[in-house]
Symmetry: C2
Subunit: 442 residues, 2 copies
Amino acid sequence: MRQKKVEELDKLVSSIATAGDKLPTVERRQFLSQGLSMLGGAAAMVAGGTALAATTSKYAPPNVPPWTKTLGQGVIADPYGVPSPFESNVVRRNVPWLTADRIASISFTPLADLKGIITPSGLVFERYHAGRPEIDPDEHHLMIHGMVDRPIILTMDDLMKFPSTSMIRFLECPANGGMEWRGAQMTKLQFTHGMLSCCEWTGVLLSTILAEVGVNKGASWILAEGADGALMSRSIPMEKALDDALIVYAQNGEALRREQGYPIRLINPGWEGNTCIKWLRRLEIGDSPYYQREETSKYTDLMPDGTAREFTFVQESNSVVTTPSPENPLKGKGKYWLEGLAWSGRGKIKAVDVSLDGGINWRPARLTGMIEPRALTRFGMEWDWDGSPALIQSRSIDETGYVQPTYTQLRAVRGSSSIYHKNAIHTWRLHADGSVTNVQIS
Amino acid sequence: MRQKKVEELDKLVSSIATAGDKLPTVERRQFLSQGLSMLGGAAAMVAGGTALAATTSKYAPPNVPPWTKTLGQGVIADPYGVPSPFESNVVRRNVPWLTADRIASISFTPLADLKGIITPSGLVFERYHAGRPEIDPDEHHLMIHGMVDRPIILTMDDLMKFPSTSMIRFLECPANGGMEWRGAQMTKLQFTHGMLSCCEWTGVLLSTILAEVGVNKGASWILAEGADGALMSRSIPMEKALDDALIVYAQNGEALRREQGYPIRLINPGWEGNTCIKWLRRLEIGDSPYYQREETSKYTDLMPDGTAREFTFVQESNSVVTTPSPENPLKGKGKYWLEGLAWSGRGKIKAVDVSLDGGINWRPARLTGMIEPRALTRFGMEWDWDGSPALIQSRSIDETGYVQPTYTQLRAVRGSSSIYHKNAIHTWRLHADGSVTNVQIS
């Protein structure tokens, strides 16, 4: 009997759907929705308002929506494509009160809207110290000098002749979440964690260039300097330069974007974004750090005893739940795919745990997609929400065994005067109405 | 003596560069360029016109270019970022004579300009059969019916509640290179191989949805139907549906682009792009193929004996050199990084060989970056070009042991009447002036 009804339904649906240009009658739609509600108990349970959707939308199949009845846009409407107008809300945003002006400021990646691990280049967060320069690549050069045998000035054409490699790695401003150190509560995920992106970076290993110029004995630090108006500069230890530091000319397959350092930047995988000098024009090899502004008065961590931690390069393991989040509230109880992002500047993510009760009980999430070292890593968990309020947390563990700390653990070591390197476990409060707010619990 | 000169040079360069706002005098620049030409023999050799660049460009460091002396653009000039105006030539293009109109046509990915393996979403090739529909995701539904226990209609919200996963996979039109079957010679890499892209795709495994609806015993094929004006549809074997077929809602981190099927499409990794139905609205489960237009009169391979190979889903292993290529000529003899792309619909690329003499001698290239199954894979090789003409080829081998065939081998099996599945070894003729043309050798 049940099977017979399914067959009847299918035959009808099939005949309507393949007709293609004939709107079904009300009777047909009612039969369909009755069929679904009659047969679709499990479906309605799993997929929320499925049967409802079928009855309320005039475009649910087998009904034929208007875009099926007309020809669409031909090639090439957009020689360089852009997102659907229905996605116009997915953009970088800034926090106007955070900085004195927009020249030395930040825009945030809309993490709540992203899926997978790649950040589209148009949504990678921005951090400027003197604005975004507009550089002609034919007039850009990279000078490598100092404690080397053969100082050199490279054009872009020169750089392209060296062996090239690619890697997917995250990029994070060490001030990410900095507003939360002392208990500030930003209202959105975009602002609590959005100084974070992940791209495929392509370029020449710095070690390849250093082999070319011949590093002198005793050389141990490199000054990297940008061509922006701030001459933004940081000191990089030789160990990192000889490990995985990359002089990058491409991002997600195409030329680096201007806001990311076009035509070239440094990427020190897993390290403070601030060290990944954009618009790179000069590398000076020396035997001690250069103590630039951005590693002395800024980008050091003020400790409880008044001293400052210097050269704290590594972005330690961190994680955040992206759904649910303030931007992704839940719509009624039922089954959901709870998901988020984890990352570690020390290597691969090994595991992520999720708590729904503010850290009392934990259960393992599933790592989905690729697990690359020093890259964003997706985690997810099936969850049947009963409609009760919850305190949602995630806790990452990286391949070194490092476990993401609580606020209490982090402050016990580092106090509460820091701006940088806030990687404490984050809490979202899920309310009974499905809305989500940012709270701090120890 | 030599070391002393280096130190003097460095001291001078350093003092000039850190001054930052002071243009060096002509004397200083001359000294620098003399220093480079005096010391930089190896540098000039490896990096081509390095010393020349230093002497001829007024912006080579330590000179200070204009963009360093002004403030740049603040946040957020572009809430959704765009490429530098200096990259305005990197766009999709079509071949006007190839199709009767632009509604049922193709645009090609500019492969010669791309690096790494990700294709930026704005440059992913397009293939329409009735143009690009403009779909409101709130009004889009996916119906799954036929030989199932629980037919269902899903909204986008419903789909987002299922477990999600991501994978980087290539997407290729089976007609890629089709114009070359009978000896046509397109003038650019963009047109010989540009119906090819590679993205991170995120969505719900089709197997997850099928488990939800309960597939009946005996079901073996699935009809996938799009919501475009062509109701574009293909039959998919159950084996693929239960393996890695993905219902995709995100591409390179963000919502699927309209030209790629917004809000959802099917991705059958490694299979004909044509099977990866865009604007997916309906999946009908049955026990035989549906013999739609696009798998009978089109997308079959006409064999020498007059029969047609049907349901030839897999894109067999293929490769192409991207530098040098018609769009990337060489600028004089010297060292270069020869590079290209390889891929296989059957799994991972195991090796790529390169020939410089039209297939007489081969040497192994290096695989760089990530090696994912059914994804583009980069290869490269250091090459010191002596300025002689060359016939440049690449040959891929995948993890099944399949070796990319020559034209002779391919035509021996499949004749010369096909349009689809042209994966023969490709040849670029490099001329003494560095220019590159497309030739076919057997």
